[in-house]
């Protein structure tokens, strides 16, 4: 073998990974500085709001990364799961709030809605995976990535337009969600709605982390995303893992939609923004990188809020997108590295 060829490819690899690490550190540093600036100029409350939003974006991003990493599916219907969560939460919350009115249960009126949403997410995920994604996989000889993308894009269209047809374009929001006092600490005034949303996101992500790292099934999910043939060799029923992963991802999204009902009212296309943000996170941190997506959620929230505060709402998506372009130029596989399983299979 040509000695210089090996050397130059080693150098290329080393410099590529250095670039990726540098990009990661730059982005993290910029985010921390921006967050500090936000806290100083916009106040601690605004910073707290940003962190709450970050938790939600992390929830969305993690679900998308999981499906991409494990199933090699580019899920463009991910936002619609958020929408379903919003609607289900709204329609459950209304009657529940009325029923609990005046009693001390009124404080936790959102809870039934949240629980039902998680269930709805699981059911929706199982239905989509078993009825649509699985048959497509069985039939696809080549071009899986494109096929899966088109399928989910179609599902997205049908769901958002279906919602419009069945439920109309009216915005269905709530003014108070959790009837609890707001948190006042360290100069921060955090309404209970936001605090609850953040706690929910935290609990959900922590549970997911524990599940993936410490349980047999979680380990099996990671195995399938790293080497599917190897997973089959040790007896993992991959079909089942696919369904489970997709259901999990959908449930996380519906939970996000339900938790944020006070911020994002339910309407047919409410899922678009979370979808874009989720994809943005994935491209920033690296496709399929589950752990990185958590950090990514917070990074994006900081960048978005800071842009909105310092430059105005109009620029809200522009600056983060410019950041993403820069990242793609310098570290195309994302700042934390991507774990794409499909790239070697054609």
């Amino acid at each position: 073998m040509n000695g210089t060829l090996i050397q130059s490819s080693l150098i290329h690899k080393a410099s590529a990974s250095m670039k990726k690490d540098t990009a990661a550190w730059i982005v993290i540093a910029v985010t921390i500085l921006t967050a500090i600036a936000l806290g100083v100029f916009a106040g601690a409350t605004q910073l707290a709001n940003t962190i709450v939003l970050g938790g939600m974006w992390a929830l969305m991003g993690v679900g998308l990364a999981l499906v991409f990493g494990v199933m090699n599916v580019s899920n463009f219907a991910h936002g619609e799961a958020f929408m379903v969560g919003s609607y289900v939460a709204y329609f459950v919350f209304g009657p529940v709030q009325k029923a609990f009115e005046g009693t001390h249960l009124a404080a936790i009126a959102p809870v039934p809605g949240l629980l039902i949403c998680i269930l709805a997410g699981v059911v929706l995920g199982v239905i989509i995976e078993k009825l649509l994604i699985h048959p497509l996989r069985v039939r696809t000889k080549q071009g899986w990535v494109m096929n899966a993308f088109l399928l989910t894009a179609g599902i997205s269209l049908i769901m958002s337009n279906g919602a419009r047809l069945l439920l109309g374009t009216k915005f269905r929001g709530v003014t108070t969600y959790w009837d609890l006092p707001s948190i006042n600490a360290l100069g921060v005034r955090l309404p209970s709605d936001r605090a609850a949303a953040f706690i929910l996101a935290l609990v959900a992500i922590a549970s997911l982390w524990f599940f993936l790292q410490r349980t047999d099934t979680g380990r099996a999910i990671r195995a399938v995303s790293q080497d599917e043939a190897g997973a089959r060799m040790v007896g993992v029923r991959v079909k089942w893992i696919y369904t489970l992963t997709f259901a999990l991802s959908t449930a996380l999204a519906t939970l996000a939609g339900a938790s944020l009902l006070f911020m994002f009212p339910a309407f047919p296309t409410v899922g678009l923004r979370p979808l874009y943000v989720s994809w943005y996170i994935l491209m920033l941190v690296g496709l399929g990188n589950v752990g990185g997506s958590i950090a990514g959620g917070f990074i994006v929230a900081v960048l978005q809020t800071a842009t909105q505060y310092f430059l105005g709402s109009v620029w809200e998506d522009v600056v983060p997108l410019i950041a993403m372009i820069l990242v793609l130029l310098l570290a195309p596989s994302g700042i934390f590295g991507s774990e794409v399983k499909g790239i070697h299979e054609q």
Partner: protein
Amino acid sequence: MEPLLTVRDIEAGYGKLTVLRNVSLDVHQGEFVSLLGPNGAGKTTTLRTISGFLVPFKGEITFKGESVVGKPAEEISRLGISFVSETLNLFRDMTVRDNLLMGAYQIKDKAARLETLNFVYGVFDRLQEREGQLAGTMSGGEQKMLAIARGLMSQPSLLLVDEPSLGLAPQLARDVFIALRVLQKEGVTILLVEQNARAALRITNRGYILENGRIVAEDASDLLRNDQRVRKAYLGR
């Protein structure tokens, strides 16, 4: 006694390309059988067919008296056939220990898992040293050891090993063969595919020779070693 594994008249391939034309072989309980032959003969295809990664066009495969043709790989693994592929298929971002625990995925009893883990560490002590290391960062030889060890974690009735010595320095290859020998002494039934005919015939009981998708010779390893044609074609004498 009925063979543990019976492969009869297998015709298999990929799309329009037929690789195995008429392959039949047996493996009995406790045997150490080798499948030899030149590059492209279809040795890997044979193992992939037995392990369920490839569905044959024709033929029968019986394991423990049950027909397994057409069953998916994960089910065949659960029936007791462990496939250690040439590409290893390790979980590169998991530690050695997690890879091994994944190998025992089918075994629900945690105590039994640990017992098997200890057994495996006993045979491959280098793996125990590197328990917490990520599989993807290990050397080629260590990865091969890990792949074989992982294959053992499910306590298989039959171990299929595809070219374990490929790409290894002679000393490492020797270590791998010694390890396989130890396993056989412990009672593991092994079907070994190897290009290194000399080493394979020295450690196995019986051998098959596959050429162009057909079995052209079958005999006790000792006899194959002394066969003129075999010596000329595969042992370089």
